[in-house]
Symmetry: C2
């Protein structure tokens, strides 16, 4: 049996259900390539009853060896946030189904929940845009489509990109595609004790440094049409 | 201090962080009017160290008395799912800020995460539609807007509505507004042991009964433009 268990956003974000299931698992893997952890993952073993946790990189996870192992043993794959936000993990579910391996997904808090701290209503978010560590700028089309229907856009960022690089790219790509972005929202480490939200224009975001420097993981939001209560709440973040 | 703590989707869905915080809270409230719990909430007290849990209905929560109490004591408000998916709880945060009360939100799994079990990519969901227990049909506009940009639509349902009533209303309202819906997805109790997913046309959904009868909480999804992997996964649910 294969358990795919969400770790939530903080080091102690795993659910009671997740902790209980781990007690009966014979082998525990930690997926470590789709995220920059906002905490030291060595602390996780302590929290989870000192079991050994095997790191699982892209090559290992995509090899689907884990599905083979789960034919014989109870295996857990720990995933930061909520497991099904990344398409990789849906593929594992699919492969497991085809191989006759029973799977169980334990959901947990993800950035899709935590972004509610901006005060923007989760109901009014449109499609999510992914800003890649490449020259490509097609993610700007997603923002445009959402704005057409008044929806907010959550922008997720490729792993390993520095904040200055991301802001510069977003500014250039939007200008190139005739999209006028004024103030945007930057969310740092939501769901942890270091969470912080900024709502500023590009000039000010480009100058963030020292204590205000943005640390990974971070994401951005382009607000769409706002209700006055959303606007009022957002104006608290400067 | 006011802690707004998500319970996740199952009876043991609360995070380790949430459980630890409750240990130091002087009073615990359970918000019980925006959701139909898929479990007996009396079991929660047992799980949470046998503390007394006070039910909090709409009148109590909207009176904001909880913010007043949190000026003097450490108070927790437990919310099914993830706290910020409902606008009510953002209003509490706002009111607390204005009153100088420190707040902390503990996120947890919500339907926005769990709907990934359909195999549809969470990135490609558009705005969320709310089907009301009223004659109003403006929620159909949200589905239309999302379809325009190829996005999937999650449809949430007013509390207390029976499945047959909901399906009939969705069918009639979409016809009235010239929207052709063929097959839709119905998700029952996602994140619990009774979770089930159906992907069928209206005629078949209208006839679900006996063991297949849909139990609350449930939601629906209207798929937008699908990647072939999404389609393949979805076709597992009949």
């Amino acid at each position: 049996m294969l358990h795919i268990i969400g770790l939530g956003l903080a080091v102690d974000g795993i659910s009671k259900k997740g902790i209980d299931i781990l007690k009966s698992c014979k082998k525990i893997y930690l997926e470590n390539y789709t995220v920059e952890f906002p905490y030291n993952t060595r602390g996780l073993a302590e929290l989870l009853g000192k079991k050994k946790i095997h790191p699982a990189n892209r090559k290992f996870v995509e090899s689907l060896r884990i599905v083979d192992e789960a034919k014989k043993l109870d295996i857990a794959l720990l995933v930061y946030g909520s497991p099904l936000t990344a398409t990789t993990h849906i593929s594992i579910l699919d492969e497991a189904k085809k191989s006759g391996v029973i799977t169980k997904v334990i959901h947990s808090a993800s950035i899709f929940d935590a972004v509610g701290e901006t005060g923007l209503q989760l109901y009014k978010f449109g499609k999510t845009a992914s800003l890649p560590n490449l020259e490509a700028d097609s993610y700007i089309n997603i923002i445009k489509e959402n704005l057409q229907i008044g929806a907010h856009t959550l922008i997720l960022v490729d792993i390993g990109m520095r904040f200055e690089v991301v802001i510069k790219k977003l500014k250039e790509d939007s200008e190139k595609k005739d999209l006028t972005l004024k103030k945007i929202i930057v969310c740092q480490r939501l769901g942890t004790n270091q969470s912080e939200i900024f709502y500023k224009g590009f000039e000010k975001l480009e100058k963030l440094e020292g204590e205000d420097e943005i640390r990974a993981p971070f994401c951005m939001v382009v607000p769409g049409k706002m209700h006055f209560l959303e606007k009022e709440f957002l104006d608290n973040f400067k």
